[in-house]
Amino acid sequence: MKGWSLLALMVASTVLGDLLQSLEMKRHGEIKEFHPRGIARVLGALARNKFLILAIVFMAVAFFAFMTLLETTELSFAVPASAAALVFETILARIVLKERVDFRRWVGACLVAFGVVLLAQ
């Protein structure tokens, strides 16, 4: 039971963290500079952003939930089960981020959902 609660906490935080992160990185625009000064400038600009800070908080929650989950659960369950986040994220990518999700991507998301159900057997 503790394992399932941790998994649910991890999936929910991952979904929220990823969504906020994608929203913010898109607003920032493509990163083109990879020399140290360029990276420092990008990190400086992003560190002042509330959405991104919130995204990092969600990611931290997801990370500690995952860490705790690994104490008792097998890696071969914990890691693929976290793919459940993909299903929710595909739906939210369409609704919130307005990304075009074609039929093939929907079928893919459904297969992932079935896969996670099988993992739980």
Partner: protein, 131 residues
């Protein structure tokens, strides 16, 4: 090399960094956390400063930064399946390096996740609707 081709290669290279750092980071973390009982903040701090967990956390930080960079030019619905491929590689690591028993149902589930992520991921990383 034209701009589109450059972007394609940049995307591929970052996708590979994302997959590898995720797979090995999770493996190191699982190795370090197995059998521990963390309840308080101090338990977590103690765990974080053990060698395996430190390696795991460092690789996962690399994973996070590489993925953030990738997200700045590629869609979330493209980046996520690529990351999920790394998750499946992790299940295989669990089987061979952590001696986990994987039931047929779990293999089937893992393979379905691979198939699903392939379907979602194949294609252009740019699918934004018009302005």
């Amino acid at each position: 090399m034209n701009t589109a081709e450059r972007l394609r290669w940049k995307t591929r290279i970052f996708a590979i960094i994302v997959i590898l750092s995720n797979t090995f980071g999770n493996f190191a973390l699982a190795n370090g956390m197995r059998g521990r009982t963390t309840v308080s903040v101090f338990d977590y701090l103690r765990a974080i400063f053990t060698p395996w967990v430190m390696i795991g956390v460092s690789l996962l930080i690399l994973w996070l930064l590489a993925r953030m960079a990738l997200l700045s030019w590629a869609d979330l619905s493209y980046v996520l399946p690529v990351t999920s491929l790394g998750y499946v590689a992790n299940a295989i690591m669990g089987r061979f390096f952590l001696n986990e028993t994987i039931t047929p149902a779990r293999w089937a589930g893992t393979l379905l996740i691979v198939a699903g992520t392939m379907l979602v991921g194949i294609g252009s990383p740019h699918s934004k609707e018009g302005p």
